[in-house]
Amino acid sequence: MTRTPQAAALGALGLAASAPGAAASPMDYLHADGKWAATVLPLTWGLFILSLVVIVVIAALVIVGVMLRARLGNVRQVPLVDTRATGWIAIGVGVSTLILIGFVAWSSITLARVAYPPSKPALTILVRAHQWWWEFHYLDKNDPSRSFVTANEVHIPVGKPVRLELQSADVIHEFWVPSLVGKIQTIPGQTNVTWIEADKPGVYRGQCTQFCGEQHAHMLLSVFADPPAAFDAWRADQLRDAPTPATQEASLGERGFIGHCAACHTVRGTVAEGKLGPDLTHLMSRSTIAAGVLPNNPGYLSGWIADPQSVKPGSLMPDPDLSGPELASIRSFLVTLK
């Protein structure tokens, strides 16, 4: 009975997970890119190493015990040594208890450290989860005209805590960006709160982790951590309304968009004010479409609009039933939404 190799394999696989870091495995949580995740990481490693040690010790006790004692041969009677043997139970349980108490303390301290952001949050973002995409409201309480809405890609300033208020438009989802922050459910009828802070500029992948229906697997999000100046520029850009289409094709597309798409989608600066789907005012500033499923370029955009149900079966975006020219003109309108 060789069990230690398996324990070693677990260790090796776990270490392999952390070694390549963000590049090879962007969803692993054995590395951290933000303050929340970095605070928790030592606890996760501590528990993981403790677990490996316990497994190795117990496996060794079982294997060595069986090998040593079985060699003595079968007997009809073994003298009772219950008092001594029971003492070993007391020792084993006593040691386990002390270790567990230590970990309760470590766990509680870590929880207290991540319960609230380390300093006053730079801004608050309202996250509204939908089947199967994410909506982000940048709220400015002092000047409501400086509020705007975007989808699936959320920008934050590097090095500053950002407060997230999370709600759901339909069923329970779960917000998770492993290298920045642990999971928090979005529950209809209540607002949950968490915070994120990224240490360095970059793009961090996240995903819904609470089963929420047919396309639960395709409900991704990205956190873009921008240097402060870039973040301010992005924010200023997002505040702009959509430009008036410059070409005839695009303005034909705008009319088509309003006819086919405006019931669900908003493009600020036009009469399209639907709230069921993502706000598309700055669609082309996003790197992906369909909640992270496809890269955002005119080709994929056409494919997605023409046949959303084959890209993302069960998606709440209906087949718009467009003719070829209609599709082409709507696409040429959409690509102006920079």
């Binding site: 069990r3 398996q6 677990l10 696989l13 997970a17 090879a24 495995s25 969803m27 692993d28 949580y29 054995l30 928790v40 996760t44 993981f48 316990v54 497994i55 117990i58 496996a59 006790l61 079982v62 015990g65 069986v66 004692r69 079985a70 079968n74 009809r76 009677q77 073994v78 009772l80 219950d82 043997a85 029971t86 070993w88 139970i89 084993g92 349980v93 208890t97 567990l100 970990f103 470590w106 766990s107 870590t110 339909d170 069923v171 329970i172 779960e174 492993p178 642990g182 999971k183 928090i184 459910q185 529950i187 009828g189 709160v193 995903q207 819904c208 982790t209 089963f211 047919e214 396309q215």
Partner: protein, 650 residues
């Protein structure tokens, strides 16, 4: 019945299995031949075997579902299944394994073994016993009928609201699950009540409460747990069904409902349920591993207290499934602490098993290999559970494949490994034939390697951030290799189980004769022939120690001597002995009921009731309810031959 008969003092006689009294008992207790006899049987051994066979069939069905899912997940962007098919499969797989295999299989062993290890003739309520089996079978078929209409439950076994409501899930899928679980809850409740009463009152004289096998402690503890926990889940599912079909607002946020209420009610049941599906299995290991260590279990009292403590604490940790729901931190800290503490009673059991090996002389058989590896699987499943008790770490671990790996180490490592070992041990008692050890060894090693290859890398899948319940995943996230390993491992595991079951079936007809006590074990069931006769014991044995059959070799244990061949002759019809709850002093001669088709008929009536509710055919539901009532009246109508009076023999 005359006054003299009420006050009868039973005769004390000596008798073995060849005596005239044994032959007359055989006629009194045996199940009548034919289909009606089969339907009417209330023999606890018959109930146990039916539970086992049915549970193993569900295990195989659930396993096949898992293999299909593993094919889909073997490679990124799998296209074998649609999202809907995958959602139905992972839901049905979990419901099958957790509710239709893991607990019923343990009920099977317990039903078979309780009267035998306790030295009784039957369970306290034989008809209720068969009733619990019929209800289990009917509830299982009820849920499986969703396959026929193509509306299998599709929201996982947690079934979180509001995705389970008609707005998002309009088909009958969730009605099958909701009503099926209420249905199954009746079976669990009936069976649990029977175990508790049997444990407390149906033991052989002298088998005081500190002399019973640990298995009966485990099953009784979880039965008390079930009686407290099942109402919570039955209520949860009833409210869900009302929300779905009558537009109430228990879980519907519009109109003031609380989706979170579902999670509380569900986990208040489902966390204790985790212990329900492991504590009896741990009990079987605590009883049977000492057979192969050639000595009694070390630390009997500590293990029993650990079992009870685990169950009690198990009711105070449900919130650790809900750390990510936005509950205040102080509550999280409390439930986190409780979740760490629950590891302590488990540690007692682990060290007791290890001490038993170290203080014994292990005989390495298939059963022993399952039990010894069980200890290590138990530890792996246990420490990964402790990791999720730390709130902040759990917010990373939860909802990923790490938790899927954890639950499989718990359910396969602690439940299935114990069950496979226990079948090696008690199959000879049930059939009179040994399971072939050589093929058994082959099966063991394939199962052991396949299981660990499938589920150890799954921890890494989780640490690499793969969420559970996604029907496909893109390449490039580091998830390909561990997923492929898991798929390969799960097929190896399936091959091992196939060999195991082929070996069992082959041994059923061609296995070596077992004799009464093939393992030279110490507990009462091994004093009966294999298979035991329907009446179990010709005279009621009296017990003076934990190991009546080892007393000649264990001079330290107990002062008296158990008496297996001389005792009360209870042969005035179907009779059993009730004893007092703690000391097992003889108390009452019980008149046991004859075989009866009533449990089967009432189950049919209840099934009609639930089918009526499902199809919203109110006339059918009404007729089913009336027929249930009528059937129960006939069942419970006082019968003269069952009259008895308390306080008879001393």
């Amino acid at each position: 019945m005359t006054a003299a008969e009420y006050d009868r003092v039973p005769q004390f006689i000596g008798a073995d299995y060849n005596s005239p009294i044994a032959r007359s008992l055989e006629r009194t207790w045996e199940t009548k031949p034919g289909i009606l006899g089969w339907i009417s049987s209330v023999d606890h051994k018959e109930v146990g075997v039916r539970y086992l066979v049915t549970a193993f069939i569900f295990l195989i069905l659930g396993g096949c579902m898992a293999l299909i899912m593993r094919l889909q997940l073997a490679r990124p962007n799998g296209t074998i299944l649609t999202a809907q098919e995958y959602d139905e499969l992972f839901s049905a797989h979990a419901i099958t394994m957790i509710f239709l295999y893991a607990q019923p299989v343990l009920s099977g062993f317990s039903n078979y073994l309780f009267p035998l290890v306790l030295g009784g003739r039957d369970m306290a309520f034989p008809r209720m016993n068969m009733f619990s089996y019929w209800l289990y079978l009917a509830a299982g078929l009820f849920m499986y009928s969703s396959i026929i209409v193509g509306a299998v439950p599709n929201n996982g076994w947690f079934n979180y609201a509001p995705f389970s409501l008609t707005e998002y899930n309009p088909g009958p899928n969730m009605d099958f699950y909701a009503l099926g679980m209420i249905f199954l809850g009746i079976s669990t409740t009936v069976g649990s009540a029977n175990f508790v009463v049997t444990f407390l009152r149906m033991r052989a004289p002298g088998m005081s409460i500190n002399r019973v096998p640990i298995l009966t402690w485990g099953t009784t503890t979880i039965s008390v747990g079930n009686l407290l926990a099942v109402p919570s889940v039955s209520l949860a599912f009833l409210l869900l069904w009302l929300d779905r079909r009558f537009g109430t607002h228990f879980y519907r946020p519009e109109g003031g409902g609380q989706p979170l209420l579902w999670q509380h009610l569900f986990w208040m049941f489902a966390h204790p349920w985790v212990y329900v599906v492991v504590l009896p299995a741990m009990g079987m290991v605590s009883d049977a591993m000492p057979f192969f260590c050639r000595r009694p279990l070390v630390g009997y009292a500590a293990v029993v207290l650990g079992t009870i403590t685990t169950m009690a604490l198990g009711f105070g940790v449900w919130l650790h499934h809900m750390f990510a729901t936005g509950i205040p931190f102080i509550a999280l800290a409390f439930f986190s602490g409780a979740s760490f503490v629950i590891a302590i009673p488990s540690a007692i059991a682990v060290f007791a098993w290890i001490a038993t090996i170290w203080a014994g002389r292990p005989v390495i058989t298939c059963a022993f290999l399952y039990f010894a590896s069980f200890i290590v699987m138990f530890t792996i499943g246990g420490v990964s559970g402790v990791m999720t008790a730390a709130v902040a770490a759990d917010l990373q671990l939860t909802s990923t494949y790490f938790v899927v790996a954890h639950i499989h180490y718990v359910l396969i490592g602690i439940n299935l490994f114990a069950v496979l070992g226990a079948l090696h041990v008690w199959f000879p008692k049930m059939t009179g034939r040994l399971i072939d050890e050589r093929l058994g060894l082959v099966a063991f090693w394939i199962i052991f390697i396949g299981f660990n290859l499938a589920f150890l890398p799954m921890h890494a899948t989780g640490l690499l951030g793969m969420p559970r319940r996604i029907y496909t995943y893109p390449p490039g996230l580091g998830w390909e290799t561990p997923n492929m390993l898991t798929t390969i491992g799960s097929f190896i595991l399936a091959v091992g189980l196939l060999i195991y079951f082929v070996n069992v079936l082959r041994s059923r007809v061609a296995g070596a004769p077992a004799g009464a006590n093939p393992w030279d074990a110490g507990t009462l069931e091994w004093a009966t022939p294999s298979p035991p006769p329907p009446y179990n014991f010709p005279v009621i044995p009296s017990v003076a120690s934990r190991h009546p059959l080892w007393e000649d070799r264990l001079p330290q244990e107990g002062v008296g001597r158990s008496e297996l061949r001389n005792g009360m002759a209870l042969d005035h019809g179907k009779e059993a002995l009730a004893t007092t709850a703690l000391d097992a002093q003889p108390d009452v001669i019980l008149k046991m009921p004859e075989d009866s088709p009533a449990p089967f008929i009432v189950t049919l009536a209840i099934s009609a009731f639930f089918v009526g509710l499902l199809l919203q055919l109110w006339w059918l539901a009404g007729a089913g309810a009336l027929a249930t009532l009528a059937g129960l009246l006939i069942w419970l109508w006082p019968a003269r031959e069952l009259e008895q009076r308390a306080g008879a023999p001393r």
